[in-house]
Symmetry: C2
Subunit: 238 residues, 2 copies
């Protein structure tokens, strides 16, 4: 009788209590059975029950009051984090027709500023597009410092099958730590307008990707046409 991979007992107790809250057996606002009662019911030690209750409290299922009891708060809502256009772009694979151009160019001022280099320092500009059906739905430009692109395929016009993030991780063991995004409405540049086939306003996203030390690995700039992109964000204000 080998129950392979039986979850730890405190997790079993947690799951049981969560189920009862979902089922309405333990209604919000009501008091849970006392620790002693739960010990008897589940046939485990109090340490185990307490661990389960503490974890449930930390996850927002219940509230514990010293000397009174544990009280049901309800199903905790996941903080439904928002869309991260900057990160998403680094994870998308490429196809032959999605590549617009891959060039070595002098860094424009705003990009040089983001990368922390002098204006007109040579950098690799890798421009791609994404499609929804036949329509071009976004223009993405990556800006890599030469020392980052060195030894990678980022400066070659061949499509990266698994995206920029995987490529940098696999080839140069670079790990992303955090991303800074700056978001504003603007008119598309002439070049973007040509590719998009429209001059209507775009959501401009300027992102920098950093390593654990906080250094900028590279920058990217997205043009998301307003008619096609809506970023949704739900947040708690309790």
């Amino acid at each position: 009788m080998s129950m392979d991979f039986a979850p730890p007992k405190y997790a079993q107790v947690m799951t049981a209590i969560q189920q009862r809250i979902r089922d309405g057996e333990y209604a919000p606002g009501t008091m849970l059975p006392s620790e002693t009662q739960l010990v008897r019911e589940f046939g485990v030690g109090r340490t185990t029950v307490v661990r389960a209750l503490q974890t449930l409290a930390m996850q927002g299922w219940i509230e514990r009051e010293h000397g009174r009891g544990s009280f049901v708060k309800g199903r905790p809502e996941a903080p439904a984090d928002r869309v991260r256009p900057g990160l998403t772009a680094t994870e998308h694979g490429e196809t032959a027709e999605s590549i617009v151009s891959v060039e070595r160019v002098p860094a424009p001022r705003h990009i040089a500023h983001l990368l922390g280099v002098d204006e007109r320092t040579p950098v690799i500009a890798r421009q791609r597009l994404t499609k929804q059906g036949e329509r071009v739905s976004a223009v993405e430009t990556f800006w890599f410092p030469l020392e980052v692109a060195l030894g990678t395929d980022l400066d070659k016009p061949d499509p990266l099958r698994h995206g920029v993030r995987q490529h940098l991780q696999a080839v140069k063991h670079l790990r992303f730590d955090h991303v800074t995004e700056r978001l504003a409405a603007r008119k598309p540049t002439k070049e973007e307008a040509d590719i998009l086939g429209s001059t209507s306003p775009v959501l401009g996203v300027l992102a920098t990707v950093h390593d654990a030390a906080g250094s900028v690995l590279f920058a990217l700039s997205l043009a998301l046409p307003g008619e096609l992109h809506e970023l949704e964000d739900v947040y708690s204000v309790r």
Copy 2:
């Protein structure tokens, strides 16, 4: 000898270890002393040391690997949450000259949809502007269902000194629970363009404010000119 309010021992152990990480005594990547060693050093039981280590791991200070040891990750960074234009607008106070108009109007389609009512249902439209110096920097329109505005000053053109959120909380005991924001680039409407004195692209924010039951309390629509507003967001991708 009364040590008033001595913190629990596991918290003392946590604080000591945090201090050593901050001081560099325990450098990132290195292994912490084993639980047994910490038990000896601090003169507490292993349960206490384990509680301290588990809590530190949950807060992101260390990582624990079964059978290997506990390893320092570093000072955990607060997840620097992003700007919430929708919420901010509900918290700003008003002045006499910031009010553009307060009218009872039939709900336009997209607003009716957000509020969950039929098109052209009468609602209160409260339009305001914000300034940076002399320049109008944003146009904010609140859309209140009549039953929400009932008994409040929201349908009166007098400035709300402490903002919409405080007013609804104080007068009708309505508590905000969460906000849903939809964000896109668009052209300003004719009306917004007149007020802003510009037709350049704006960041359009459509937000709904919900109570704990998930019902929509009201909606608001912001027009933030792209040249003046940049939303910044930093997030971890580890």
